[in-house]
Point group: C2
Chain length 359, copies 2
């Protein structure tokens, strides 16, 4: 990234940028993303400023397709960039139906089946949840949607999953048309993400102008960030091939056992569902999350309270309450996320330190 | 920037980010931008992924305000992010009136006066042109608009001017409500820009979700890029205070004289108008711009052919033709832009080298 910020700072669209081979940097980044998610060369990768932009863009396209009598499907536990965009559409008169969630944190597929009909034109259903880490039955949902509403454009926000677990556009994501991701979720830089466009679908741009990226997302191409996300995708792709996510999952499970030893009444959200290997979202009755997060920070340990987006919000996790947890329970929830570099010793040490703080 | 990409990579909205003082990085960047453009503390600075996003956002707000019988004003020579966004609105039935341009490359204020009436709800008029560098009579245009349409929301794309010449929200921009800018136009990083929101105006977000930046622009705050734009704004602000833009202008004028010595029939666009100090847009009859740009590149000199956005386009400058230049003339146009680091010797050397290539 430094190289492209200091000496090779040309505009990729300029003659000099072309001579310097900057287009190849973009192409190789797209290839690294495709490899990471098992995509094919005709799956288009369009870079955006991050998954929030990608999600808002996908919903805007859904709205454009939502002519009279047609409607949009989503779930009650989407990221706010989906949720709020859809609520804005509802205020404009667009019909949106929301899939509820089970106690395990997964979409209620029976309820989903009750909702879907031929007039569904756009569905946005997340792949892994940003707080619980619960992996959703997206394939099952997509099969159901495709059966009853074959023309429906299907989007998934896969931001939390991509780079943390193996995903494949040939497998669990095969029926999805649009996929959002963010670089900083897998050790890439902030300010870069993208939208994968598949199955020959055509979109109107959200951000138009200079015509960059096949006129799908204008604005000067952010080469340093693209070089960064490319390196991160390549690195995480290799680690996943080495099954390092399985080690991370084993470490996470051991950590949860250890927490339970210290705090027998801990409750772990989505424990019964498939989850991201690196995520643990739990609460200890009587310990407030804010207090817990700051106590952890004084030990040099960075954990979250729900999603970082809403860390400054006073309200506890909306998702936890939809899963059936009480306000008090939700108020104690903290999220521990490990990276490929996190060791079991670090997590055990953390567990012991918080036990000392809350004897 | 490196510091925030390697060791202080926390999410600014997380508890740890707050403890590490990342919010202060954002606040000090906003202060640096305000100082650069003579803004006051209540002029809100919202960071975006760049001026293209800022422009699209401003137009979206204009569209939202454009209820029946009301209309939008812009010019024929705006950046494509304004132009195309407005053309899309026209297709949806919104009335847009376009101010034409004079032979000098400035808005035709008489024609503008003929257009404006009470029902004008949004105006987007650029401050300095991205190809010619011509500084527009924005203050005069804004006075005229305010007189006849006091409620009109006025936006300017000041991307080309900010950081290259002194600008002031207390002076030539005092009547403007929204101002777009991009970091990479003044030695800042790519992927960061912003929209200044003034005079107590309220906007709907283009990109909503996590609620960052007072819910005006959601998405994880791009701290490394914000640290970068902050440093660039501070540095350019100091150079402008030292009147370094005047030296740059003198060097540019000398360079143009030198080019004319070698190529007596050179024609320089906007030569009779106030221009950005660092920009020179000209053609030599009979020499094709593409050939010229690549010849310059082989000498290690990076120049543009019109705007970088459209460098890959086969069409010559739209703006030049609107100014009354022929297709052939427009096909020879190249743009030489210098930075605060460019020396007269470098420009004279360039002039001599191209004279050797085109004897």
């Amino acid at each position: 990234m430094t190289q492209f910020m200091t000496s090779r700072f040309w505009n990729v669209s300029s003659a000099y940028g072309q001579l310097d081979g900057l287009e190849e940097i973009v192409e190789s980044a797209k290839a690294a993303i495709r490899t990471l998610i098992g995509a094919e060369p005709n799956d288009e990768v369009i870079f955006t400023s991050g998954a929030t932009e990608s999600n808002v863009w996908a919903v805007a396209e859904g709205a454009r397709r939502c002519t009279s009598c047609r409607w949009i499907l989503s779930s009650q536990i989407e990221h706010p960039s989906i949720n709020e965009s859809l609520e804005n559409l509802q205020k404009q008169g667009v019909e949106v139906r929301w899939v509820p969630v089970t106690r395990n944190g997964t979409f209620d597929l029976n309820k989903l089946a009750d909702l879907v009909d031929y007039n569904l034109c756009f569905a946005s259903l997340m792949f892994a949840h940003n707080e619980t880490g619960v992996i959703q039955p997206l394939r099952e949902a997509a099969i159901l949607i495709r059966e009853r509403a074959p023309q429906c454009l299907i989007h998934t926000d896969a931001t939390q999953a991509i780079g943390k677990m193996p995903v494949s556009l040939l497998d669990e994501l095969s029926m999805v048309d649009l996929i959002s991701f963010s670089g900083h979720k897998f050790h890439g830089p902030k300010g870069i993400g993208g939208l994968i466009i598949r199955n020959g679908k055509t979109l109107q741009p959200l951000i138009c102008g200079g015509g960059q990226q096949q006129n799908l997302r204008s604005g000067t191409i952010n080469i340093p960030a693209i070089a960064g996300i490319s390196a991160a995708a390549t690195k995480c792709g290799k680690l996943l091939q080495e099954n390092r996510h399985i080690s991370i999952q084993l470490i996470r499970d051991k950590f949860e056992e250890h927490i339970r030893l210290h705090f027998p009444d801990v409750f772990i959200l989505g424990k019964q569902a498939p989850r991201l290997p690196n995520t643990s979202f739990w609460g200890i009755p009587g310990i407030d999350a804010d207090d817990f997060v700051y106590t952890s920070a004084t030990h040099g340990i960075v954990i979250g309270k729900g999603s970082a987006c809403s860390a400054q919000s006073l309200k506890p996790s909306h998702t936890a309450m939809l899963m059936g947890y009480s306000y008090d329970e939700a108020s104690s929830l903290v999220r521990v996320s490990s990276s490929f570099d996190t060791s079991l010793n670090e997590l055990i040490d953390f567990s012991d330190k918080i036990h000392e703080s809350y004897p």
